[in-house]
């Protein structure tokens, strides 16, 4: 772990000093225990603050689209920045997706591939209590569900690889979805409503998600207004169905939404269903290659028709 951090700092310093990149996006220690925060390193001194450990949870790809957007106050030609990103497997998958959706310029991004052993879930750590926390940071006990089920701990599209111990890919990641599918429709609805009714509409899940870069989110639109602004339960349902469905074929299961949610809604149970369906119906796993077209922008003549009603 520490070796990786040392190497990361050196690499970042090199990249910045040699002006190969303008910015290194990484992590630095936060002011609270067990927390890191994003680090926007622009010079060698900044690079010295970079850290790498099992608390580097955030998906930093979320910052990329706005970096590649021409600022409104710039007239005339504008050169997009060169950015290096400290990336885990899931973060790099997000970057791949953003490149495909033309939000990120691939040539301008240097993916620094980090060894990932799985990130600590703050919720699990809090539940474990202070003493258990420090002693268990090494094993899998406090690792987030998403990481236990991660199929791609290695980093796709890496430009620079920092070695270190990393976890192996999980094989079956859809057990919870399958268990949920096995319930009756009434039970599923009741659980969905129970989860969603906790929502306070802070939209942190949307803000944390690298895929949610729309200038105006459907939930904020006023013409048409898709949902009311209050806490009507059906508006919450509509928001969540809309948000999750907009991730169809795009969600990389990075867990950023789950971590961001202040009330602990089990968003993964719902986003993962679409991941599973997209994989089963269209054989597509988001963020693993740059070549394959996004599944909802294409078709095959023999796509499944089993959902069609015939009279």
């Amino acid at each position: 772990m520490h070796d990786a951090q040392t190497k990361l700092r050196e690499t970042a310093k090199d990249l910045l000093v040699s002006a190969k990149v303008d910015l290194v996006l990484g992590f630095q220690n936060g002011s609270l225990p067990l927390r890191t925060r994003p680090c926007f390193a622009r010079n060698a001194a900044d690079a010295g603050r970079l850290v790498w450990n099992r608390l580097c949870t955030n998906n930093l790809a979320v910052y990329l689209p706005r970096l590649f957007e021409k600022p409104a106050n710039v007239r005339g030609p504008w050169t997009p920045p060169k950015v290096a990103v400290v990336a885990k497997g899931c973060d790099a998958r997000s970057i791949m997706g953003l490149v495909k959706e033309h939000q990120v310029i691939r040539e301008n991004v240097v993916i620094i591939a980090m060894p990932c052993q799985g990130m600590i879930s703050l919720r699990k750590a809090e539940a474990a209590g202070a003493s258990a926390r420090t002693s268990k940071l090494d094993g899998d006990d406090l690792v987030a569900q998403a990481c236990l089920e991660c199929i791609q701990p290695s980093v796709p599209g890496a430009n620079i690889i920092i070695d270190g111990p990393s976890r192996s890919a999980a094989s079956d990641r859809f057990q919870r979805v399958k268990d949920f599918e096995a319930l009756t429709a009434a039970e599923r609805w009741q659980q969905f409503v129970a989860q969603v009714s906790k929502c306070i509409r802070c939209y942190a899940c949307r803000q944390a998600c690298p895929n949610c870069y729309c200038k105006t989110c459907f939930i904020d639109q006023t013409k048409p207004s898709w949902a009311g602004v209050g806490d009507d339960p059906t508006d919450l349902l509509l928001f969540h169905i809309g948000r999750v469905f907009h991730q169809a074929g795009r969600c990389v299961e990075c867990d950023a939404c789950v971590r961001a949610c202040p009330v602990g809604i089990d968003l993964r149970l719902f986003t993962q269903k679409l991941v599973k369906d997209v994989e089963e119906l269209f054989g597509y796993v988001p963020g693993t290659s740059l070549e394959e077209a996004p599944p909802l922008s294409t078709y095959r003549p023999d796509d499944s028709e089993c959902f069609i009603t015939d009279p």
Binding site: A185, F192, F218, F245, L281, Y299, D303, T309
Partner: protein, 156 residues
Amino acid sequence: MADTTEMNETAIGTQPPPAWEPRIVAFLCNWCSYAGADLAGVSRLQYPAHVRVIRVPCSGRVNPLYIVKALQLGVDGVLVSGCHPGDCHYISGNLIARRKFALLKSFLEYLGVEPGRVQFSWVSASEGNRFADLVKKISADIRKLGPARQMKKEAR
């Protein structure tokens, strides 16, 4: 027009109340399904008067939010219909839509939305009979399910 057996079933059942008739919103594409519905009409085919047709340029134009929003606004069922695969006026609009709809239907049912509330079909401009039969079937399905309450926004 609801046929008489359907009416009788409603009358003797305890639920739903006899006054209730299904309200179904049908998104029909301009080039095939809308013309199919038109043909059913000019051919004087009888089918339950439960559908409210919304004409769209293509089944690919149907935003999944239209469907969810319709349920929130209190409709009892949603039908989306376009040209048969291969017949799309815009070549591939319905083929792209097919992927979206397959996911949406599966997702809504996963969440526990009653299966049958939201249905998809293909009806060509020459299939007036198919359209009439389709509406008969869907309307019977919805009647069996009763009024939609899950997503309906109630005045508070």
